[in-house]
Amino acid sequence: MRHMPMILRQVRRSYKQAGLFVLCVALSLATLTAFSGFARSVGRALLDDARTLHAADIIIRSHDPISAPLVQAVDRLANQGRIVRANVHEFYSVVRAPNEKASVLSRLKVVEPGYPFYGQVTLKSGRPFKQVLAIGACIVEQTLLDRIGLKVGDRLQVGYTTLTVDDVVTAEPDRPLDLFAFGPRVFIHSSDLDALGLLATGSHIHRVVLLMVMDPLQVDDIAGRLKKASAFDGESIDTYLTSGSVVKRFLDNFLFFLKLVGLFILMVSGLGIQSTLTALFNEKQRTIAVMKTVGASGRFINTHYTLMVFLLGAAGTGVGILAGAVVQGGLAWMLGPLLPEGLGLTIAWSGVAEAVMLGLTVVALFSFLPLYRLREMRPVAIFNRLPSVGITRWPYFLSGLLVLLFFLALVLWHMRDIVFGFYFVGAVTALILAAALLAQLALWAMRRLPVRPLVFRQAIRGLFRRGNATRSIMITLTVSLAVIFGDHLIEKNLDATFVQSFPADSANAFFLDIQPDQTEAFSAAIGHPVQFYPIVRARITSVNGEAIDRSREGQKRRDNLSRVFNLTYREALLDDETLIDGDTLFRNDWPEPQVSIMDTVVEMRRMKIGDRIGFKIQGVPLTARISSIRTRDSRSLSPFFYFVFPEAIMKQAPHTLFAALTVSPGQMGPLQTSIVSRFPNISVIDMSQTIGILARLMARLSRIVRIFSLFSIAAGLLILVSAVFATRAERVVESVYYKILGAGRRFVFTVFALENLLVGLLSSLLALVMAQTGAYWVCKVKFNIGYQPFLSVSLVMLAATVALTVTVGMVASRSILAKKPVAYLREQQNE
């Protein structure tokens, strides 16, 4: 028996349903393959171009001065001619116009000749960077000139010295200019470093030593030797292949969330695949019954339709791969300046093969039930009679279990984090089950609603039309909308808490790197007594004697113990702090060093009172016992510290001071300029501006996530359209009978529109309930901030969804509405 011609004919005849199935398969693949492809492209680009991106073969990094043994090892290699070295210092500082009228917090990069060993720093003039950056000169970003009203050739006050602006930088190899830019870039020659006077003890300096290895084959060997020579565990030594970068970290984290969205879309589209296929087979029910009546066996029917499903699935996979390429390009466009220069997007054959495998697996899994149901379709259906045999339940459970296992495997494959994978799959499953339960309840209530007006009665009846898939549509729409609404509500609450309602009396100007001998002069400059917070920079080396594995800690996506912490000392709680464990900040009955920790530290690793934490403070080890655990009001914008020590222990450690003041917006600029001109080593951060920059960045990233989440709504709408197509015959009969019995076109339109409106309204209402509950929990429990339901925003989202559902439903029904009774009756006579 030749299946192919018959399959082609059936597809041609049901091209709309077949098209919807293809779209659902494509939709399930497009985003995930796009995100995976994008991650692969970025990974490959970063690896291919790793030397350029890191500007060196070996990169040594430290927040403290490089240890003497390591410096000696580098010197030895340099003297042997095996490497060339360039020291780089990066830090924030406020730079000023010579007239002291304007100032701006900038990212200073002080580089030795030779930088960059690979890649180019591109200048506006087109001249070579290495020739332009001379002693006494600086190269700045255009925004710096714009903000303080300078031009190339003008003088710029940096720290304790004045430099000439010689050119404008447009691109640098080791980071995109716009990535988390809290200030414009300033390049300075290393010979001017001492003149800047900004390298005081304890200052926030990022020290980097870039090495170019003369024999490329010796890169690993030399890096290994340097690691052995390093005497300080705060120093990291990486080759260009092993070194992480800000760009990579940012993209890894962002793509992690986008992949979650992709996986979610895949699940929702899977429901769409199942639903559209069921609708397609419902449409074919009569044909299948006829085929069985003339002797087609169950095996024949199954082979035939399985072939058809996989042919359509293959088409959907192809469309999905193409759409994935387009989405990948769209994502690159949306991320725009946050991406490294010259990032080329490529589509690898391995990626295509993975997408094909994924597509066929998705089709197989989600087609299993509809194909299985074909076995239960009896030839007696030819008489419009239901089979009098019971339906076997086990395939339904098996199908659910297989989908769950597949989803879990996919999450673990993409996320590579078992605990998170289980949480995510659990959350999505719970979301779908909750949506199913609520949809069932809502439909149960609708069926019993005592409604009098005829149009409403008919619309409600339409929801329960045979083959209408109302519950599937509602579950898919509810799940998708709940995620989108929830995301938006959380974002609005974060914005309201941290950006919009920045309290007028909150500290909004942070002063960093104040030296202990500057406190009196600083208070005098401010004009009133200032509270100073001592800051001692340190790393954690152990907890209860167990050494911290930095590489393992660093792989965690949340805050972790691998980083440098700012410790402080004081004897009392701050106003926004309370003790959640322990009676006092410190105990009098313990003779050994003590530390009070913030509850967020306990989230990084389980710790309790009496546990011992090992610190290394500028090379000096210190073990302290936890005396109390604090929490703080997270709505407060006051400075806070994870680790607080008694004054007696920490006072002699090298430290800087930090101050936070409330400054009116109009005074911020002048105060910044006046403080920095008197104390050039002090950095002033305008917190309201910083929060604004962060909020804009978060809004941008959140918008991208939301745009992709919209794809999941498309799955819900595809099911809606497929349900309209699948029930076309019934709808035509209803429409024609209404008209024959004297109803106008308007009545028919209203009944169908109301039916779609009910689907949209119920789905979005359920989604809103779930989103409000979820967002409330996240804000109150996870973020510990206040919660606003944003009712007007919720209403707009609800109205938009209803409008979209009604529009899509009515567009799909337009041929039904246009059907003339006489044409239908003639068709029936011919039957």
Partner: protein, 236 residues
Amino acid sequence: MNLRTLEPARGDTITMALLEARNLIKTYTVDHRAITVLEDVSLSAEKGEFIVISGSSGSGKTTLLTLLSGLDHPTSGRVFIDNREITHASEEDLAPLRNRTIGFVFQSFHLVPSMTARENVMFPAELRGDPDAEARAGRLLSRVGLSARADNLPSQLSGGEKQRIALCRAMINRPKLLFADEPTGNLDSENGKIVLAQLIDLKNEHGATLVLVTHNPEIARAADRVISLKDGHLNG
């Protein structure tokens, strides 16, 4: 279960009838309420016989036809076709029987809409793996005067043409048993007469047994035997 040839057993008797139904009862459950549509119906049909099942609307004619043809299972009772019991046969076991032993003609034609007239006719033969399917379909179409419409889709045919195509499809595997459910019910009298004449001609030509459901007394007059149903019971 496999279709089994009847062996003499306690309570069973060997029968020469091509079709035999014993004590058929069919009950449907609607809204938790049992409705009996057939009550203890027994009948048999010999080879080459033409039997009409008649009765008013709702008397259970079509239900009886679905049980006799194995399209549905009885609630109780037994059905034998060609000395094989089909009462509890699975769909997989019934498929070859429907393909080779039985032919169906329905009131609503039930042609596969995506197949042309020729493809509809040859489909059962193709399922059987008959290499001569297309030629035989062509001959049958020519026999009913529809060679010119062979490549038309069902939607391009008139009601009479559709039913003649359905007739050819039913006969292509030369079935021993032909079931027809109101085959002229959707046709005008002229077309009805043509279809009925061709149906009886083909039946006679192949020596098939014909079981025809109708409430048309004119057709009943052409039958060898008429079985009348009333409220699910055999009448008289």
